[in-house]
Symmetry: C2
Subunit: 246 residues, 2 copies
Amino acid sequence: MKTTAKSKHCIEVCFSPKLFPEIVIRENYIVVLVDILRATTSICAAFANGVKNILPVATLEEAKILKSKGFLVASEQDGKKLDFADFGNSAFNFSREAIEGKTVVYCTTNGTRALDIARKAEKIAMGAFINLQALTDWLVAEEKNVVILCSGWKNKFCLEDALFAGALTENLLDRGGFATHCDSAVAALDLWHVAQPDILGYIEKAAHRHRLKMLELDDVIPFSFTLSTTSVVPVFEGKEIVNVAI
Amino acid sequence: MKTTAKSKHCIEVCFSPKLFPEIVIRENYIVVLVDILRATTSICAAFANGVKNILPVATLEEAKILKSKGFLVASEQDGKKLDFADFGNSAFNFSREAIEGKTVVYCTTNGTRALDIARKAEKIAMGAFINLQALTDWLVAEEKNVVILCSGWKNKFCLEDALFAGALTENLLDRGGFATHCDSAVAALDLWHVAQPDILGYIEKAAHRHRLKMLELDDVIPFSFTLSTTSVVPVFEGKEIVNVAI
């Protein structure tokens, strides 16, 4: 994929981890991971509340071993906190009292699979509505192509991640250094424009919002759709996620 | 996936063949194949011009053997008609003079892959803007769940197929016997509502529209986005595609 103006960096949106192998951008790119109603909003909230770093692990076994060594552990299944864990994956779990200055082990099959998928990227950043502006500023400063990778729900397209992809695409295009020829980015932008006047009203249409309601975990929804409440930019480096905000 | 009213049939939209394994509807469903700027509009146009039946084949070798036996053959690569073939895959190739009452062999890797993917469906129908109303009437009469399978472009999400998915979803919901809890269907509907006032203007944003322009094949675009100009409903049965319109 070529940009119309060669000086511009490309934006591509990927609506499911299963579609990541089809991305056209092949070099010099940053992946922005998006999982609005689960991992990425929670990770941003944890850094906003002063967590030192986050260690993503793929299996319950690893999580349990690290728990036995004294680490704080976040782990959930189908949205519910597992018994041995300190936290589930609601952003509200990561209070300043619980995590400030500490390391948290985050057990998430989906999240670590996404990190694996995106391993060829130069950097992998966590995107959420709550860090939208800080993430935009950081991406502009990085001057690289951007692939926005929506986690979706069990590999399916989901509205909340697509809306964030649209919001971030709009922000980057507005800053002038980016262009896109990606149909998914165009669609995400248009969906964001439809939703923006009343995001919480719009998100009533999302399937995952109803799953959370059934689990009585939907209290986190207004928080998850509030724009730019934190200036953190969590980035995966080596084996840990750290805050690299400008 | 359960419908809120048990009597209603479900609609699910799949934005890429790669996402088809993730569909939630597992039984009693019809797949509607969508490939607006290539196969499905052309197939509908062929039936509108009186083709007897269409034999999809997966390989050039099969197509060449059938050509040597006297069949008319449609075959293209990257949008261009192959030398040995009678037609490419532009809807304009299939004129009444050329095909009325005849069998056409259609060589399409993507199309036959999609047919393979959808093999567990009760029936597989071809959807295009030009047969939107006839397809809606047929689906309503069939009284089954509906999975709208967008071909996309090289497995990526594409705007034109998503718009059609939205238009068909709207038609089916309007008829009252259908419901959806699928985020892709909600997104497709909203994109269709954004595009509908000026479809040709909107489709200027689509990447594939620009690829066709470069190939000088974009003359077919206004035709491809004209609603309900034919009453055919091509359906894959056994090894051939036939017209089953009511």
